[in-house]
C-alpha cells in the first residue's frame, strides 16, 4: 500500500514539475529562513546559560531616581562588594569586577617585546570571580591564581597570542598600561561567544591602587559590576529588601541632592536582554526583538504553506479522476487523506533537506551581519534536528491537511465524469482568503522595511549640530609624560599640508560613554536637579567641529578650568529666558573644586545618538582629562595623511598602540543594532514577496490552463489581448488591495511603536503606504502579466480544437 502511494506520489510530482518546483522553492526558502532565525534566537537565548549556578547569580545594579525620570546603570560604587561580604556573610559570593583599559605589553626577560590593544576582555577583579562563572582551567589554580597583587590569568587564545603557546604562559609577565610587571598565574579555556563576561586578561583587583583605595559611595560607572551568588534558600525579592537597608546604611541620601539611589538585583538570565543596563559586550538583544524575529519566521513559513495549499487545491481538479477511481475500487477517505498527506510530506522533506543546505551556505553571511558567530556546535545538532523535525511535521500538517481533505472528499461519480472544475471544488474563497493573508503579511513587512530604512537614512543624514565629516579621532595616552608632549604633537601635525585643525578633548561631541555630573548654579546652596554632560576640551575644539556660538564667546585656552561654555538646552533647563542671561553666571562643581563663570552659549549639538534627547552640556578646558586628539584632514589626501599621522603618533608615544576612527564612522556605530535590524528586514521582506509571487505565478498558470477554452471563445468573439490580461489581473488586483487595507493599519500600529523609541524620528508619511501598495501591485502584475499574456496571445483555434 505504502509503496503504491509513494509510486503515485513520485510519478505525479515528476509529471507536474513546475508545481513541484514552485512548492519546493517556496518551502525551501521559508524553512531556511525559519532555521536561520531559529539559530539566531537560540544563540541569543543561550547567553550565560551554561554556568552551574546560573539560577543564583545576580548582578547588583543601580537605579537613579531623578526628577527627570529613572536612570539605570549596570554598575555600582567600588566599595559595594566588600560591604556586602561584611554585612551579609550568608552570601555565597560577592565579587567586584572592573573593566580595564586596553593597553597590554608582553614582557620577555623583563623587556617589552610586543604591545596589544585588547578592546574587550581586560578586567580587574577579586579572586572569587571564578567561583561564580564556570571557566575550564588549563593551568594554574582558580582558587589562588589572582589572590596576590600583580598576578593575572589569561584566556587560552590570548596566552597563545602573547607567548606562542598556552603551556608557556604561566610564569611569564605582562604590563597593563604603565603598571609594574604582572605575573601570569593561570590559563583558562576561552570564554564561549555566548557570554556577556568575555574574560581575556583577568588581573587581580589588588594590582590596581585606585580601585583598592576607592571609598567613594557616590560615583558609579557601568564598567564596575558587582556580581553575587545568593545562597540556595534565599530569593531575589528577599535580598532586594535587604538592599534597601544596605543602601541607607552606606550611602545615606544627603539633604542637598535630589537624586535617589537604589540597588536592585538583576538575574543573570536577564542581563543579555535588558538594554537599560547594557553588558560588557556593548550588545543586548531585547526580548521584543526575539519575539519580532520569531513572528517573522512564522510568517514566512505560513506564506510558504499558503502557496502549497493554493496550488494543491487548484490542482486538485487534475487529480479528481484518480480520486474517483481509487474510491470506486474501494479506497476509503481515510486512506486517501493518508496518501495525499504522504505526498505533502515528501515535498516538505525534500524542501527541508534543501533548506538545511541553504541554511548552511547562508550562515557565514548572517554571522557577518549579526557580528557574532551563530554557527551551531556539534552539541547543538540534536536540538537543531529536533527543530527541523518539528518544522517538517508542522508544515506537512499546515499545508497538507486541507488539500487532502478536499481531494479525498470528492464524489466519485462526479470525479469520474470530469464534472469537477476548479470552481466547483471547495476552496476558491479559501484560496482568495489565503492570497489576501499572504500579501497582507508581505505588505506589513514591506512597510516595516521602508520605515526602518528611512529612519536609518534619517540617522545618517541628520546633522548632529557639528561637522562630523573628515575628523579623525586618535587616543591621547593618559599619563603625564604623554600629556607633556601635547603641544609638540599638535605643531608637528599642523605642519602637514592637508591638516587644518587639531584639538585635544575628553571625548568627541557625540561619543559612547559620557561623563556627567550636577553642579551648583549661581551661588545656589542646592545643586541642580539634572546631570549635564561634561565635555572637557581645548579652544581648538570649536573650530575643529564647527561648533557655533549663540551668545558670548568660546573660553580662552588654559590648562585648568577658567571659563565655561554651556549649550542652549542647559540654559533652558536652568530656567533662564535667554542665552545672554547665562553669561557671567557662576558654575560650581564638586563643592568648589572647579568654579568658573559662563562666558558663552553654544548652539545645541547632540552629545549622544539621535535615539536620545538633546543633552545639556557644560564645556571647559581641563588638560588632565584629555583622552583624545581630533584631527580635521583634507579627505582628498587622506591616504598619505593617515600614514603621516600614524608615524608622528608612534614617534611621540612609543609605548602605546596606535588606532584611529573617523568621527562619522563612530556615529554610525551608535545605530549598529538598528542597522542590523534594517538589513534583516530587507532580506525577509524580499523573501516574503518572492514566495508570495511564486505562489501567485503558480495560481495564474493554473488559471490560464483552466480557462484556455474561455480565453479561446472570448478571442473568437473579438476580445483583445489587453482584455484577456485584464481578465486575469482584475481579481488579484482586488485581492491585493484588500490585503493592503488590512496590512496598512497593522504596520502603522507596530512601526509607530518602534519609532517612538527614538526621540528624533521620521514621520510615518503617507508615501510608505503608497509605495507598499504600488510596489506589491506592480510585482503582482508583472508576475500575472507574463502568464496572462502567454494565454492571451495564444491562437484560439488551438485552444478550441481540443473540444
Amino acid at each position: 500500500m505504502l509503496k503504491n502511494y509513494f509510486v503515485t506520489a513520485f510519478r505525479n510530482l515528476a509529471r507536474n514539475k513546475s508545481f513541484l518546483l514552485i512548492n519546493v522553492a517556496g518551502l525551501t526558502i521559508g524553512i531556511a529562513s525559519c532555521l536561520l532565525i531559529f539559530l539566531v534566537i537560540r544563540f541569543e537565548l543561550s547567553f550565560d546559560d551554561y554556568h552551574a549556578k546560573k539560577d543564583r547569580i545576580y548582578r547588583v545594579t543601580t537605579v537613579f531616581d531623578r526628577s527627570g525620570g529613572l536612570d539605570y546603570s549596570s554598575g555600582v560604587s567600588v566599595p559595594v562588594a566588600q560591604a556586602l561580604r561584611v554585612d551579609y556573610p550568608q552570601l555565597e559570593v560577592a565579587n567586584m569586577m572592573s573593566r580595564g583599559n586596553d593597553m597590554i605589553t608582553v614582557l620577555e626577560d623583563g623587556k617589552p617585546v610586543k604591545k596589544f590593544r585588547e578592546l574587550k576582555g581586560v578586567f580587574f577583579t577579586e579572586p572569587q570571580v571564578f567561583k561564580i562563572f564556570d571557566n575550564k582551567w588549563l593551568a594554574g589554580d582558580p582558587a589562588t591564581a589572582i589572590t596576590d597583587p600583580f598576578t593575572a590569568a589569561l584566556s587560552r587564545s590570548l596566552a597563545v597570542k602573547y607567548f606562542g603557546s598556552w603551556q608557556q604562559a604561566v610564569g611569564k609577565s605582562i604590563v597593563y598600561e604603565k603598571s609594574q610587571p604582572i605575573k601570569i598565574t593561570g590559563v583558562f579555556e576561552d570564554v564561549p561567544e555566548n557570554s556577556d563576561y568575555p574574560f581575556g586578561v583577568v588581573i587581580s583587583q589588588s594590582s590596581n591602587r585606585s580601585l583598592m583605595t576607592n571609598t567613594d559611595w557616590q560615583s558609579t560607572t557601568s564598567d564596575q559590576n558587582c556580581i553575587i551568588v545568593l545562597p540556595e534558600n534565599m530569593s531575589a525579592a528577599q535580598f532586594n529588601n535587604m538592599l534597601i537597608a544596605f543602601r541607607k546604611k552606606h550611602a545615606p541620601e544627603s539633604s542637598t541632592t535630589l537624586t535617589k539611589i537604589s540597588y536592585h538585583l538583576q538575574p543573570l538570565n536577564e542581563i543579555h536582554f535588558d538594554e537599560r543596563f547594557g553588558t560588557y559586550n556593548e550588545r543586548t538583544f531585547s526580548k521584543e526583538l526575539i519575539r519580532g524575529l520569531a513572528l517573522i519566521a512564522a510568517f514566512l513559513l505560513i506564506i510558504a504553506c499558503v502557496n502549497f495549499i493554493n496550488l494543491s487545491t487548484a490542482q486538485a481538479v487534475n487529480r479528481s479522476k484518480e480520486v474517483g477511481i481509487r474510491k470506486v475500487l474501494g479506497g476509503t477517505r481515510r486512506q486517501l487523506v493518508f496518501q495525499f498527506m504522504g505526498e505533502t510530506f515528501i515535498i516538505t522533506f525534500i524542501a527541508a533537506c534543501l533548506a538545511t543546505v541553504v541554511t548552511w551556505l547562508m550562515l557565514p553571511f548572517l554571522s557577518d551581519l549579526m557580528e557574532v558567530s551563530i554557527t551551531p556546535g556539534a552539541g547543538q545538532i540534536p536540538q537543531l534536528l529536533l527543530f527541523l523535525v518539528a518544522v517538517i511535521v508542522c508544515v506537512t500538517f499546515l499545508s497538507g491537511f486541507y488539500p487532502a481533505l478536499i481531494l479525498s472528499g470528492f464524489n466519485p461519480i462526479s470525479a469520474l465524469k470530469s464534472k469537477l472544475s476548479a470552481k466547483s471544488i471547495g476552496g476558491l474563497s479559501l484560496r482568495r482568503v489565503l492570497v489576501v493573508l499572504q500579501f497582507g503579511i508581505a505588505q506589513v513587512l514591506i512597510i516595516a522595511t521602508l520605515v526602518v530604512i528611512s529612519q536609518m537614512n534619517f540617522f545618517r543624514s541628520t546633522s548632529l549640530g557639528f561637522n562630523q565629516q573628515a575628523v579623525l579621532n586618535i587616543p591621547l595616552p593618559a599619563d603625564s609624560v604623554s600629556h607633556s608632549k601635547r603641544n609638540i604633537v599638535r605643531e608637528r601635525l599642523m605642519q602637514q599640508p592637508g591638516i587644518s585643525n587639531v584639538s585635544y578633548s575628553f571625548s568627541a561631541p557625540a561619543d559612547f560613554g559620557a561623563w556627567s555630573s550636577d553642579f551648583n548654579f549661581d551661588h545656589s546652596p542646592v545643586p541642580i536637579n539634572f546631570e549635564p554632560s561634561l565635555k572637557w576640551a581645548d579652544t581648538g575644539y570649536f573650530s575643529t567641529y564647527g561648533l557655533q556660538m549663540v551668545a558670548g564667546r568660546p573660553y580662552i585656552e588654559s590648562d585648568t578650568t577658567r571659563e565655561f561654555v554651556v549649550n542652549e538646552t542647559l540654559v533652558r533647563k536652568l530656567g533662564l529666558k535667554s542665552p545672554e542671561e547665562a553669561l557671567g553666571k557662576e558654575i560650581n562643581f564638586w563643592d568648589g573644586r572647579i568654579v568658573a563663570p559662563i562666558v558663552g552659549v553654544v548652539k545645541d549639538f547632540h552629545s549622544n545618538s539621535l535615539k536620545d534627547e538633546m543633552n545639556p552640556v557644560v564645556m571647559g578646558t581641563r588638560e588632565r582629562s584629555y583622552r583624545m586628539i581630533s584631527v580635521r584632514i583634507d579627505m582628498s589626501k587622506s591616504k598619505e595623511l593617515l600614514a603621516k599621522i600614524e608615524k608622528i603618533w608612534n614617534e611621540s608615544f612609543p609605548d602605546y598602540v596606535y588606532e584611529y576612527q573617523f568621527m562619522d564612522e563612530k556615529i554610525r556605530n551608535f545605530y549598529r543594532q538598528e542597522n542590523q535590524l534594517s538589513q534583516l528586514y530587507k532580506v525577509f521582506a524580499g523573501i516574503a514577496i518572492f514566495i508570495s509571487c511564486l505562489g501567485l505565478y503558480g495560481l495564474v498558470s493554473f488559471m490560464a490552463v483552466q480557462r484556455t477554452k474561455e480565453v479561446g471563445i472570448r478571442k473568437v468573439l473579438g476580445a483583445s489581448a489587453a482584455n484577456i490580461i485584464y481578465l486575469f489581473s482584475k481579481e488579484f488586483t482586488l485581492l491585493i488591495s484588500i490585503s493592503f487595507l488590512i496590512a496598512a493599519p497593522l504596520a502603522y500600529y507596530f512601526m509607530r511603536d518602534w519609532l517612538n523609541k527614538f526621540v528624533f524620528r521620521i514621520d510615518m508619511g503617507i508615501w510608505f503606504f503608497v509605495v507598499s501598495i504600488a510596489g506589491s501591485l506592480c510585482i503582482a502584475w508583472i508576475t500575472v502579466g507574463y502568464r496572462a499574456a502567454k494565454a492571451a496571445f495564444a491562437n484560439p483555434v488551438n485552444s478550441l480544437r481540443n473540444e
Binding site: N4, R15, E322, G330
Partner: protein
C-alpha cells in the same frame, strides 16, 4: 442476487427537480448477463451508480445477496463494493501515473491482499486478457482496445460476483469492441453476473436479457435466450 423494488432517485437544483428513477423495480439473478438500454437521460447511469454502490437511493428497497443495503453509509458501501463489484467504464478510467500492472493491482491493495499473492493474481488476469506483454507500460502508451482490456482485467482481478459495465465499447472501434464483448461473455460463462449499460443493439445481443428504460422506469424486457 439483486432485487430492487420501487427505487426512487431525484436530483434537485434550486429551480429544477429531475426524477432520474421513478419507482423502478428490477430483479437480476446470479449468473445473468443483462443489458440496460434507453435514450440519454432515461436513468441508466443513475441505476448503474446505485447498483454499483456509488450512490444511494432516495426511497425504495435494494437487496444485494439477500441483504437490504439501501440505507448503508459510505463506509459500509465501500466495504461491500470492493469485495463484490468490478467496474468497466466507457472512458477506461485508468490512473495515468500507474503502469498496467499497478493499475490492475490496485483493487487487491485496497482489499489487503499480500504482495506475493497480488503479483500472481495480476499476472494471471493479464494473461487472460492477453495484455501480459504490456504489463510495464503506462496507459497512454496503449491503444483504446488495450486500455479497455486492462480496465476489464482490473474489474475482475478480485473475482467479483458482479461486473458493472458502462458502455464498455463506446470509445472503441468495432473490432476492438468485439474483443471486449467476447471477454465479458467469457467472464459471464465462468459465472460472473454482468450488468451492462449500452447504446449499441449489437453489443446488447451478447446479453441474455435487455431492459429498456424511459423516464426512470422500465418499459420492456426482451429475453434473448
Amino acid at each position: 442476487m439483486i432485487n430492487i423494488t420501487n427505487l426512487e432517485k431525484v436530483y434537485r437544483t434550486d429551480e429544477v427537480e429531475t426524477i432520474a428513477l421513478n419507482k423502478l423495480s428490477i430483479e437480476i439473478k446470479k449468473g445473468e448477463f443483462v443489458a440496460v438500454m434507453g435514450p440519454s437521460g432515461c436513468g441508466k447511469s443513475t441505476l448503474l451508480n446505485i447498483l454499483g454502490l456509488l450512490d444511494d437511493p432516495d426511497a425504495g428497497s435494494f437487496v444485494f445477496n439477500g441483504t437490504e443495503i439501501a440505507k448503508y453509509n459510505e463506509r459500509q458501501r465501500a466495504e461491500l463494493r470492493k469485495h463484490n463489484i468490478g467496474f468497466v467504464f466507457q472512458s477506461f478510467n485508468l490512473i495515468d501515473e500507474l503502469t498496467v500492472f499497478e493499475n490492475v493491482e490496485l483493487p487487491l491493495i485496497y482489499t489487503g491482499v499480500k504482495a506475493s499473492e497480488r503479483k500472481q493474481k495480476v499476472d494471471e488476469v493479464l494473461e487472460k486478457v492477453q495484455i501480459m506483454h504490456r504489463r510495464n507500460h503506462y496507459p497512454q502508451q496503449l491503444s483504446g482496445g488495450q486500455q479497455q482490456r486492462v480496465a476489464v482485467a482490473r474489474a475482475v482481478v478480485n473475482n467479483p460476483k458482479l461486473i458493472l459495465a458502462d458502455e464498455p465499447t463506446g470509445n472503441l472501434d468495432s473490432s476492438n469492441g468485439n474483443e471486449v464483448m467476447e471477454l465479458l461473455t467469457n467472464l459471464n460463462e465462468q459465472g460472473t453476473t454482468i450488468i451492462m449499460v449500452t447504446h449499441s443493439e449489437h453489443d446488447a445481443r451478447y446479453s441474455h436479457r435487455i431492459i429498456r428504460m424511459l423516464d426512470g422506469q422500465t418499459v420492456t424486457e426482451n429475453i434473448l435466450i
